[in-house]
Assembly symmetry: C2
Homo-oligomer: 225 residues x 2
């Protein structure tokens, strides 16, 4: 058993965690590695390898106890650590996120919203405290906010990231149409390009047709659609 976990495994384990939550809700008590794989589009081999990075937890010949596996992942990845989050930019996308239940009562709770447009702030009905953009660094620092979501226009994104980082944010999810960076490289940043996802899909489809793609993801598929 290895205590050093590859990043792709961490990401898959997070997906497994979500799956275990759902299975537990549905009253499922036990799962086998091929079930998990089937659900996540990953081979059973990889599933078992990923889980084994966290130590032994399965039952030989009897699979994994759903609740136990969930807690195991939870504990080992430190998901029990609660963190505060904020949303910078409360336009169409920022508002949708701001009102999303999981962001309000989950482990990574949104406790502040920021926008440069004061009128916009006054219009919004929400239980989350909202602040003008110029107070971002100060508020982030005071509230101990560690995670941030950027949903501002492309021109403002890097500047907003800088202010968040100055306030002590350690992780950022960025939806603006530009990869934002942290100069020190110490802050984790995940750039998500929603429109770009369509571009990627289209490119993969094209290449799949002309057979010039090395591999298309997903493990042994079933038979029929």
């Amino acid at each position: 058993m290895n205590r050093i976990i590859p990043e792709p495994s961490v990401i898959r384990l997070c997906l497994m965690y979500r799956l275990m939550e759902r299975l537990e809700n549905n009253g499922v008590k036990t799962v086998f590695s091929p079930d998990i794989g089937e659900n996540l589009g990953i081979t059973a081999h990889t599933i078992r390898k990923d889980i084994s990075f966290l130590g032994e937890i399965g039952n030989t010949a009897a699979g994994y106890d759903v609740a136990k596996l969930k807690d195991h992942i939870h504990g080992n990845l430190g998901l029990d650590k609660k963190r505060f989050a904020c949303i910078a930019g409360l336009g169409k996308l920022g508002q949708a996120l701001l009102n999303y239940r999981q962001f309000l009562d989950g482990d990574y709770r949104v406790i502040a919203g920021f926008d440069s447009d004061i009128n916009n702030l006054e219009m919004l009905r929400t239980s989350v405290p909202l602040y003008p953009s110029y107070r971002m660094t100060e508020i982030v620092k005071d509230m101990g906010i560690e995670l941030a979501v950027i949903a501002v226009p492309v021109q403002a994104a890097q500047e907003v990231a800088n202010r968040l980082i100055a306030g002590g944010v350690k992780g950022i999810i960025n939806f603006a149409q530009v990869n934002v960076k942290s100069k020190s490289g110490q802050v984790l940043i995940r750039n998500i390009d929603l429109y770009g996802e369509l571009r990627i899909l289209s490119a993969l489809l094209n290449l799949k047709e002309t057979a010039s793609l090395k591999k298309v993801n997903g493990p042994d598929p079933g038979k029929e659609d």
Copy 2:
């Protein structure tokens, strides 16, 4: 030069395309591989390798012509192929996407929206034609829609995916809190978990602190934040 392109390279090339668009808008004429790398958080080596999968295009000792590289990626990845898209589920998130400019006038144009709630459909002000959910398969087939975005509640997601696939959709982006699957494995699916991104960030931060993560991404960072 290799005509078979690894999937990670395809994804990075799509990011490069976005960057070239922006640089061109800003009047930048030439870029060097380290610039591109710096912008995307990837090493210059990888950038050059990725580009070289598409054939020679750079100028020895003089970098890449922005417009030329953009068109080169565009052509080689088949991004010139226009495709129609639709959005299934017009709640908070679906509406934000539906009104996003790039989805309305980009190459992957949203030409239909679906919701099971007729009242909701009647309330919405948009230039995109909206349809009740039960017509999904029929409309998708008739309009020749190839790409779809799923933004329905978790319970409905797989069922909606099935209907889209029955209508002939070839690629799906799914925002519901469950990995949806295509039985044949022929349909490309990208599951995006917005809340899960926060979980991943938190897990990576925890592991970084306890030094039990194999590698944290991002190439040689600069000096200061």
